[in-house]
Amino acid sequence: MPSIDSVGHAAATPDLEQPWAELGLKDDEYANIREIIGRRPTIAELAMYSVMWSEHCSYKSSKVHFTLWGENTTDEMREKLLVGIGENAGVVDIGDGWAVTFKVESHNHPSYVEPYQGAATGVGGIVRDIMSMGARPIAVMDSLRFGNLSHPDTERVLPGVVAGVGGYGNCLGLPNIGGEVVFDDCYQGNPLVNALCVGAMRTEDIHLAKASGAGNKVILFGAKTGGDGIGGVSVLASETFEEGGPTKRPAVQVGDPFAEKVLIECCLDLYKAGVVAGIQDLGGAGLSCATSELASNGDGGMRVELDLVPLRDASLEPHEILMSESQERMMAIVEPDKVDAFLAITDRWDVEATVIGEVTDGDHLVITWHGDVIVDVPPRSVAHEGPTYHRPLERPGYLDELQANGPESLTRPESGEELRTQLLSMLGSPNLCDKSWVTNQYDRYVMGNTALAQPDDAGVVRVDESTGRGVAVATDCNGRFAQLDPYAGAQLALAEAYRNVATAGAEPLAVTDCLNFGSPEDPGVMWQFREAIRGIAEGCKFLGIPVTGGNVSFYNQTGDVAIHPTPVIGVLGVMEDVARRNGSGFRTEGAHVYLLGT
């Protein structure tokens, strides 16, 4: 057997056993791949499909419910929407020629394994998403959930996560303007680390992830590619390279915020110079995702010479290079006569940039390794036409009992003394107490545009220095409400974030969400999921603001026990002049106190 499993070799050895099951593919998914490409996949193709068709990348369990977004979005709600669901992040028009993009994403599991690096790379990932839209990132937020504060493992996870969010965001120079810290036993084995980033740009500067224009160059830039995050495909290595075996692959990704900071400035210079025709960040599924998504979104094919990718670890095999989730990398599509200008800018920032391929007028994504074709596939089949599941839904049986157990059964304080004790115990509870231990580890002042941050309910940043135009953002969710009733719980989260933005003085404009749930294979969880989406979508329609993007995180459970459904909602609003924002809390002695609403 040749050391490289080329397309030709695959065609000649149709019956070779392949470890598709170990890679998480179902038998019909594997059969489907064979049908799409008309032969058995090469190892590189198998690796690509398996990771792109994973739940994380393909949204295969959740996608069918996303029709609820569209169904509940009216033309009126789309008025200010410049880029909607489907791109790296949604973009809204905030007036005066300014556009704002924002999105929230989860990094739950990695943060449990290695809290500092997991949280840090979570921030890094969402920031690259925002950068890839053409925007300058202007603020971050973090919505965190942990188990019991007194549990020994919380002592490992909490400080690490907080230090990681701060370590990365502070070093990037992005003000952290808010977030959440919630403790509940249900998150003991599944802490939630959801990171949100906001970016701003002029409307004409919006960039999209698409590769079009035959002859345009594909440039990979940023950090070198290492073996990060490819543990899952190691089964492939053992298939082909029996002798010696691969060197050890790291179980966790380590972030380099300095490299990302330089990458941000470098990208902004590239945008300013007008040398970027299309751009995509490299996150989950690395090059597999970037090449297939860029090609799939474009109008032609793409050819990539994988052996040109600069490596941090020379022992990496081609399929591993395709899978690697090394951080701080981007991919751009550049017109040939702009390549020199492009490289001059990356040089100035000391960012490594390599032309690794070009856009073709074919309709296939072709990847070669020292001349051998190892991938030859229709890019849409990898990036956008993955499997779709209609998983069974069922309202959990325990809900009736849970809902029946109302507050009536609780004892009420009878005396002043009892009331006092109760109040004190509430004030002392980790969920209500002062969070400055966390927020003081985050730089909220950098960039000089922060008009509100902790401890206020919404973060407010100025976008336009000459007019004071800016945005307010809040994230909220109460998983206990969502556990009782996912539809109403999701709406309560939406309503709370909406109120927080409105009371800061902003007009709410758009919504992003991070849907943290248990296993989609559990019909009860799937029912919660559907209810939550329905709640958000219908709530948004009622409020008249669209969902512009988000993220789904499934399998947040320990054994059979899922976390409370936790649909974290971020709402963004616009203010003509953020100097007129309202802080929360009583600020003036003698002021009157009014209670509004019911």
């Binding site: 394994v113 290695e114 690096q117 950090a223 290492g226 073996g227 990060d228 060197t247 050890k248 692959r249 790291p250 179980a251 966790v252 990704q253 380590v254 972030g255 380099d256 300095f258 490299a259 490596l311 941090r312 670890d313 020379a314 022992s315 090394s326 951080q327 000391d350």
Partner: protein, 118 residues
Amino acid sequence: MGSIVVDVMLKPEILDPQGQAVAGALPRLGFSSFSDVRQGKRFVLTVDGAVTDEHLAQAREAAEKLLSNPVIEDVVSVHALDEGHDGGHDGDAQQVGAARTQDTAVRTAAHETGEADA
């Protein structure tokens, strides 16, 4: 007083941004011989009296449990510093050489080879 040195390095396959920054700066200062740099930690633990096997065993356990993060780091060596000469100081070549013969490495992981980092 005796001293025990614990050396901890990032696993070879883990990205080391700190080492990379140093590696990037060295040529700019005219140091061109170094193809790679990795940065780790060195702990010096003090014990009362001479270093015993018991102390070393405790140090080894502490190294694994507290001083290193096994997810990303390896303990590459745990060894006593010789007390004989200079009150436990790690002062000159002679003495360092002597001290190090007491070394007790705790792992045989393939370290410090300077293979391009993974």
